[in-house]
């Protein structure tokens, strides 16, 4: 049992599995993306209050979802690299950071472009926005920290500990719209109650979230494969 799990997380096995998976994931990405874009921009009706301006939701929510989701993945990878010293965990952690930074930045940019016409301001120091900005600073800090420690053996562990300490921000972001009075609307999608959005608007949103998530997995695989082959000198796997 343990040897099976161990073979699953070995870099070599990972390399071969991702090679067969990549074309399928690229196909799935373009299918979900095109359905999400057409459904969101053309087929979904305009919102009763926000008109066509609400269509920013189809990129804002996936970006915000991934900014939190990637951090959760990083925290899990940090635990595996700290506790079991998994090489793959440390690699996933390192290559997720730039992608997570990008999605956090995009969530903030698209959010302020949505806030300007609806709230009348690009930025306001409210709970959801401020905690998301703190997440961006966390990502930037981790990015700088790991680039400073890249050649030190203790560097990976230090970055992993920093990631775990920063994880406290994730539930704060999620619950900020319930704990404080805020301009930001509450959650549209929740796990256990029906969504507060009509089905023709919901389906493209789920497709876009799926597309962005597949994009993250694809990019992570691309970066990890390059790292394993070119930087760590495993050319004979090709």
């Amino acid at each position: 049992m343990w040897s099976f799990i161990h073979s699953l997380v070995s870099p070599k096995y990972f390399f071969h599995v991702t090679r067969t998976l990549t074309p399928w994931l690229i196909g799935l990405f373009f299918i979900t993306l095109s359905y999400g874009l057409i459904g969101g921009l053309v087929l979904a009706p305009a919102d009763a209050l926000q008109g066509d301006g609400f269509r920013i939701i189809y990129i804002h929510v996936p970006c915000a979802f991934l900014s939190l989701g990637i951090y959760a993945v990083m925290a899990m990878a940090a635990i595996t690299s700290l506790v079991w010293r998994l090489k793959l965990g440390a690699l996933i952690l390192r290559h997720s950071v730039p992608l997570g930074t990008m999605f956090t930045l995009l969530a903030l940019i698209t959010g302020s472009l949505w806030g300007k016409p609806m709230w009348g301001t690009f930025w306001i120091w409210d709970a959801r926005l401020t905690s998301e900005l703190i997440l961006l600073f966390l990502y930037l800090g981790i990015l700088l920290f790991q680039s400073a420690l890249v050649d030190k053996p203790s560097g990976e562990r230090a970055v992993a500990i920093l990631v775990l300490v920063g994880f406290i921000d994730i539930p704060i972001i999620h619950y900020s719209v319930y704990w404080w009075n805020t301009l930001h609307q509450g959650a549209t999608l929740t796990l256990f109650s029906p969504p507060t959005i009509a089905t023709p608007m919901l389906a493209p949103l789920l497709a876009m979230i799926a597309a962005f998530f597949i994009y993250y997995v694809l990019l992570l695989c691309l970066r990890l494969r390059y790292e394993l082959i070119a930087t760590q000198g495993n050319q004979h796997w090709l």
């Binding site: 066509d52 301006g53 269509r55 970006c63 992608l99 995009l106 698209t110």
Partner: protein, 53 residues
């Protein structure tokens, strides 16, 4: 047809916000895709070159 396209691009008056948001997101997504891909291409070209020489 043209009017429908114009209406679509007009986005009910929110054209600037909607299209700039979409533009920025897809610019960054493309950038993050192209950077590692080009790195990979450069490396494979280089290693092929090394094998021949």
């Amino acid at each position: 047809m043209l009017i429908a396209l114009k209406n679509f691009l007009y986005m009910g008056g929110y054209a600037f916000y909607v299209w700039s948001a979409y533009g920025i997101v897809f610019f960054f997504l493309a950038l993050q895709w192209i950077m590692p891909w080009r790195q990979w291409r450069r490396w494979s070209k280089q290693s092929a070159h090394e094998q021949h020489s």
